[in-house]
Amino acid sequence: MALKGRDIISIRDLSREEIEEVLKVAHRMIPIAEGSKIDRRLDGIILALAFLEPSTRTRLSFETAAQRLGARCITIADPATSSVVKGETLSDTVRMLSGYADALVLRHPNEGAARLAAEMSDKPVINAGDGAGQHPTQTLLDLATIQEAHGTLSGLRVVLLGDLKYGRTVHSLAHALALFGAEMVLISPPSLKLPDEVTEHLDQLGARVREEEQLHRAVRDADVLYVTRIQKERFGDEAEYAKVAGSYRIDNSVLAGAKQRLIVMHPLPRLGEIAPEVDGSPHAAYFRQAFLGVPVRMALLSLVLKGKGA
């Protein structure tokens, strides 16, 4: 199991053991991420953050992760204001950056950009989201959140709620959950169901997946409720959107019948999917989830650049 020097493009590139290794190291990174312990293991490292599509949260999370471990970042935060990349192919930008930095983190509006970048770069490339494609560090931080709350990823019942069709985070998460033998319960509007392609893939992995229509029923015996954004653009008219969004909204009354240990997750930013009143409940895990993005990215950087997590 060697992550050193590897490209991290898709969660499918990682085996179950490799994911477990990342999560284990991420857990040890928490005190460093919180600032209560100092560790400069990436001292001298330069990380290139090429955000050729702006994404402030993800970028700040990577910058924080790198700097907590003593690495320095060279950053393209917004291609619109960067003369470096204007009119240049991604291939050229990547070859230039791989001459400067020890590893590249890439965010790009086009699917497949990270795979191409990895081919062009002689330094490791970490995908920070390519269009509607892959975003493996999101999946890893989702898993870290579940693992932290429940102490395991196996044998859990995970409800995936909302836009299961276009939501890439859900597809990657479902793949990973299948590797760990979690049971999945799907709830979505008929027009936003999990694509056949994904369902078939989960079948091949031997995953236990079922659909449910009643939100209350699904929540009752769930360990995790993973809520995704339902976007207006997916619906023909406003009224239809409002109706669907309303029927999937999570508030304290929906959670009333839930197990005590149920956690509610959301990739953020949320629109109206989770009522603010849930924030104060012990079920709310979405801010912890966002925080865990930092130690998870620290773990990945450490493993990819140094090959060890200790």
Partner: protein, 155 residues
Amino acid sequence: MAAPRELKITPIKNGTVIDHIGNGLSLEVLRIIGVGDLDKDSTVSVALHVRSQKMGWKDIVKVENMELSPRKVNAIALIAPTATISIIRDYKVREKRTVDLPERIVGVARCPNPNCITNRGEPVESEFDVARRRPVVLRCIYCERQMDDFLSHLI
């Protein structure tokens, strides 16, 4: 069964015969071969809707003085997976093979996803792996989009 020879078209001395093409697909095969690129003295003959014991109906394409590049064979494998390719030298069949689909298909078809990085002017060829063989479904190795409609995406 050795049925009477089915040379409905004049025999060729040297060239390639693509037989057992699915009924009606020979025009696509011609597009792949690129008839415009041929030697000006070469004759191309096409037999449409020919009786076949194995297939019911099939098409046959015969091209003089040409052997197919591996890339063209791969493209033919995509749209006419039942085809057989025979190399004719001095009026005789010297080599005969089926058009097996390779593990990786490079530069043959465009990715159907307009937002795929391979459709954005990068110096890279399209590349697919085979997600399923019967019927054939390809998966773009870059954006992971699957594709089963090759006709409209051939390069």
